[in-house]
Symmetry: C2
Subunit: 313 residues, 2 copies
């Protein structure tokens, strides 16, 4: 098999270079044709990479911190791991880019440096959420606030392509997130987007909030404001519900004992909700795939983020 | 204590007149000064009401069904329980109105017949969601799709008043739902709404999706598109999560046994998420309070919807 090069921002994650490099090594085991190129401080990376071998290192002396202004940092830190990695991809040296660093800098940088695919007005950030039957790709999750109807229609197309390539679905079912299933429902953008999407392959129509995780939809499209609120709400809701479950289970001795016996079930449940198993958030609509890995990604999460890039080719 | 009259659409709910009338009777037990006036088919209502006594009946021969076009039905069915009940309130005969009927017809009818409070551009539909510490009022939940910044600022004020009156909070904490906590975040409407709300009493700033249920916020403001999607998503997410919990608990004998022992805890948990305990969705910003009860409301839910009207006075 032909070699496949993926560029990795080895400095961005909260857990530091060791998790990023270990993740790359794990991905190499799964995909022997993979050639990771690590961007970051060469001294640090050399120490980490020599444990595994087979990785190329490109020296990028600075890091863009999540606390910095994305646009300013992106303009000033030309020698940062994000900017240098993206340029490497842009120049055709790698097929994709993975970073667990500043979201803002990554999205701005990727759009400016790598550039949009022909016909795509705005790239979108997707997130894979667990459903009863598998996963649904929610997009846009925050790259675009006020969306024109054409953006939404393009998101549907981008999401479809991603689910075909990475989730091996023949014909992903696309739903437009809305306040009702009737054709004429919604805000101005959703109404017009419905008209654009109606009749296109895979489009099942408007879906309500309760259908997003039903397992009947593979791609759920909305503007980045709604998507971002939804995504973070998921996090808060799961935490609140789990807190309540815990509180009630600890309320009596017998339920406490019951909880202890059901420990394995709760553990399996946590695994189903574990973002590390899924990988990162694909930033779609650019000339190459960029994956935003969670800031606190460990090696497993990074391995899966790299896998996303591999499968997308 | 002075008498308090509340008008009730006794025909609208899925469970029929008996649940509505029983709910009214339960509310009368809690509030001896309460005088419910039932709107609907007088023969049916007479049979139901004679079980309890003390209720006035106003004959309204037709019902607006959820399947009918709200605007058309509202214009044509002048003798429906919703239209007649709302007129009764408008004319000063009752302090509030409770209906479990067609949401669309109720919201349209209430706005046109009862009319908006001075200074309110758009009334908003609120929903009380359970948090770890109590409840948060989410509004707007679907009455207004594309919202001007002034609408959002007014929703904050309407929510504050409701939580003061009905939840007895001295100074409710108001958050503007957004994609980040920084001042300059959001779509165009949220950015401008932030500027309008900044510095007003109780306003804590932008909140992210994950903070809505944290218990740190009493009123969470957003446009009706986002709110409706969120609200229905909550429903779907709880169902998906509970389905997964069940699946995992049934997967092994020991966890099955554990689940059986923890049955009481799960029952208490369901009660915390039970909308019937909270009542209905307040439609705020009109000259009188209108409560939209869930279509499948039973007597307990209706009693609590009437309680909301009583407490709001």
């Amino acid at each position: 098999m032909e070699k496949l090069t993926i560029a990795i921002d080895a400095m961005g994650g909260d857990l530091g270079a060791s998790a990023m490099v270990k993740g790359a090594a794990m991905a190499m085991e799964d995909f022997p044709f993979l050639e990771p190129v690590l961007f970051g401080d060469e001294k640090v990376l050399f120490e980490e990479a020599k444990k595994y071998g087979g990785m190329k290192i490109v020296h990028a002396p600075t890091v863009i911190l999540p606390s910095e202004s994305p646009t300013l940092a992106f303009r000033r830190k030309k020698d940062s791991s994000i900017v240098m990695g993206l340029k490497y991809v842009k120049e055709g040296n790698a097929a994709g880019f993975v970073s667990a660093g500043s979201t803002g800098a990554l999205l701005t940088g990727a759009t400016v440096i790598i550039g949009r695919k022909p016909g795509v007005e705005r790239p979108a950030l997707g997130t894979l959420l667990p459903t009863k039957k598998g996963h649904v790709l929610l997009l846009d999750c925050g790259a675009n606030m006020d969306c024109k109807p054409t953006y939404l229609a393009q998101f549907a197309q981008l999401g479809t392509e991603y689910m075909q390539k990475c989730m091996k679905l023949d014909s992903p079912r696309v739903g437009l997130i809305n306040v009702g299933t009737e054709d004429e429902k919604g805000n101005a953008a959703a109404k017009e987007a419905f008209a654009l999407l109606n009749g296109t392959p895979g489009f099942v129509g408007n879906i309500e909030g309760r259908e997003i995780l039903s397992g009947e939809i593979d791609v759920a499209v909305c503007d980045g404001f709604t998507g971002n609120v939804l995504l973070k709400f998921t996090e808060g809701f799961a935490k609140t519900m789990m807190g309540m479950v815990k509180e009630e289970l600890l309320a009596t001795t017998i339920s406490k004992l019951g909880a202890l016996m059901a420990k394995g079930a709760f553990k399996r449940l946590r695994k189903r909700f574990d973002y590390r198993e899924v990988g990162g958030a694909p930033f779609l609509g650019l000339n190459h795939l960029v994956i935003k890995a969670h800031g606190s990604s460990d090696a497993l999460a990074i391995k899966n983020a790299i896998r996303q890039c591999v499968q997308y080719q």
